[in-house]
Amino acid sequence: MTPLTPTSSDRAGPAATVDLAPLRRAARPRALEFAFWLLPVAAWFLFPENLALLTQIAITAIFALSLDLVLGYAGIVTLGHAAFFGVGAYAAGMLSAKLGIGDPLLGLVFAAAVSALAGAITSPFVLRGTGLTRLMVTIGIGMMLFEAANKANDFTGGVDGLQGIEMTPLLGLWSFDLWGKTAYVYAVAVLFVVFLVARHVVGSPFGLSLRAIHMNAARMPALGVSVDARLTAAWIAAAAIAGIAGALLTQTTQFVSIDVLGFGRSAEILLILILGGAGRLYGALVGAIVFVTLHHLLADVDPEYWQLWIGLVLIGIVLFARNGLMGVVDPFERLLARKETKR
């Protein structure tokens, strides 16, 4: 792996136990961040006809954040992350369709819990191997779950989708409308909360130990850090967040079909995260925004060959901008950081 380029929270790295000042500095929200979070507000006014797409971006961003925790921070490459997204999606769907509980927030909590459970069950299998082995185990688990959902056709609705999901109004006030207004505000709010939590976790000693494991797993036991316990915790947390993303998709579309578990979704979210830049939370967000928007625009302009263009973009980014789109920001960040320390 290439050495991680220093970013805000990185700089705190090894010195964390000695001097906590950089940590605190990193935890402080910065002007650029405030600007970033004005985007969803601006989008609401600028693109009132594209709220469904924007909702999709927000959901994808949550999913990418979840993957970032395991891939970018804990260093586990997975191609089966849709498993948890799908479990969450089905959990939220079943709650409404089978039990008649249509409250969105309740569904979100339920989905997160079920996905976390799925994460807990799968973690020993995934954490056993390394590298390619781990990757293949995640694929295997994802595929088996997909096949299981397909086999249980009568229960899950299989490829035709789970029917009969009805959502009650959000907080009893706002019902999900055709324009997707409620859905958008709901998804962005959840994204924001998840992001804040993730930001906190990543900057905490726990998050730092994850990065340290990523960089040198062999040394960590010597420092008194249990590698497996930390990775397991990260895995479960990520599973829960992926489950929330899945549940959001279910609730905003009021539909679940088996493709929520598909290999394609796992591969796509991996692409999105790498595209944005793994190992930094904004990488996940930027990746989601850029990829989904690009996909949408290209598919509109050239429905038949959009894949060609998106492929060329991916190749170009790798050739000219290593470490994802956020890698481009690095030099500027370093410049800013130098100014800050001088001050």
Binding site: E49, A52, G158, D160, G161, Q163, L178, T253, F255, D259
Partner: protein
């Protein structure tokens, strides 16, 4: 808002201005076509386009007196979340009057929900899962249902002295639907299913399944696979293992010999007996004109498949409904007008069932033969006015 001006326009056109419709040119009708335009199923979108283009070409580009604007949206393969989003955008942004296309059932379910909420009629031009029309009152289907084409195959088999059948279907919803419909009709008519298996969609290696079937020695094997990769793979395995020589007939639904794929499937398809609602070799004057028309509009010698025919008929159905409403594009009125509509399609007479909004049509039994060096589905037996058996 635009709907209001539209109504005003038509009212104006009808109330004595006579030919004014020509001059005033009523507001265009917008149709959102949701289909696969990229990915492995890009052919579906193209077929829809061809069928729609031909119908418009034959009718001066007008639907019920209105000029038509088609908004194409790519939803490759089964992707209901994308389909739903696209449908929402078509409503709020493009302000379409109708949804059309809909090749995959999950997408049709998702769009059906939007159609219901927005009160915009959706014309299903392929998706063949039975419950799509039940789930949303704003959906009408001009294609077929899986059960509708599976059931006649079973009845034909019994009629022709086949009483022991082994079934193999793709392991997903439609496969299960086909298996159930076939079994129900087959056993109800005195046949017996000696074995059944559902094969995974992902792998095209059928050798083990075919060996199994051969060892069970049924009189015939019935299979259902989505058109594309799987049917040729199954037929190759069947030929390699010599099922025919072992006295086991092979029967299937028409997906196996989809006209789009038949040439690529090759001679392994020869002699295969299938049941479906459309063959491009259907011997009728209307169909001859249809096939020629498609060649003319596209400038290519490509076979129109059941996708193209359904798209063509979908336009005809909308036109018929608009004729009944007097050009009024109001969703509820158009849906009402679609019910019970019947007309002549290139595939034969069809009707939109007044109660279920699902299609009633003739299902043909065909045999794959070589005619003038080309592989075609030659129809030799038929079941008239078949309704969706799952709704009875």
């Amino acid at each position: 808002m635009s709907k209001f001006s539209l109504i005003a326009c038509t009212v104006l056109a009808m109330s004595g201005f006579g030919l004014a419709a020509e001059a005033a040119d009523p507001a265009p009708i917008k149709i959102g076509v949701i289909a696969s335009y990229s990915g492995p199923y890009a052919d579906y979108g193209r077929q829809f386009d061809d069928g729609i283009a031909l119908w418009l070409d034959e009718h001066g580009g007008k639907l019920g007196g209105h000029p038509v604007e088609i908004v194409k949206k790519d939803v490759p393969g089964a992707a209901p979340d994308l389909a739903k989003r696209v449908a929402q955008e078509l409503v709020v942004k493009d302000k379409v009057n109708f949804f059309a296309g809909l090749d995959f059932s999950p997408n049709a379910y998702a769009v059906g929900a939007v159609a219901k909420e927005a009160k915009i009629p959706a014309i299903v031009m392929n998706a063949s899962s039975s419950a799509i029309t039940t789930q949303s009152p704003y959906v009408a289907r001009v294609s077929f249902t899986v059960q509708q084409v599976s059931d006649p195959m079973a009845r034909w088999a019994v009629k022709n002295g086949i009483t022991k059948v082994y079934t193999i279907v793709a392991d997903y919803g439609p496969g299960a639907d086909s298996e159930t419909a076939f079994e129900k009709a087959f056993t109800a008519n005195g046949g017996a299913i000696v074995g059944k298996v559902r094969a995974p969609l992902s792998s095209p290696d059928f050798s083990a399944y075919v060996q199994r079937i051969k060892d069970e020695k049924p009189q015939a094997v019935f299979f259902f696979f989505p058109s594309g990769v799987l049917p040729p793979a199954f037929l190759k395995a069947a030929k390699e293992r010599g099922l025919e020589e072992a006295g086991i007939k092979v029967i299937a639904t028409g997906e196996a010999t989809d006209d789009s794929y038949l040439e690529a499937t090759g001679d392994v398809a020869l002699g295969l007996i299938t049941s479906h609602h459309y063959s491009y070799a259907h011997p009728s004057e209307k169909n001859r004109k249809f096939v020629e028309g498609i060649a003319r509009v596209t400038g290519k010698k490509l076979r129109p498949s059941y996708f193209a025919v359904a798209a063509y008929d979908g336009m005809a159905a909308l036109d018929g409904a608009l004729a009944k409403t007097g050009g009024d594009v109001d969703g509820a009125k158009v849906m009402e007008a679609l019910k019970g509509l019947s007309f002549e399609s290139p595939r034969g007479p069809i009707e939109i069932d007044a109660a279920t909004r699902d299609i009633v049509q003739t299902v043909y039994i065909r045999k794959t033969e070589k005619v003038n060096g080309e592989l075609v589905n030659v129809e030799f037996d038929q079941f008239d006015k078949v309704k969706d058996p799952a709704k009875q």
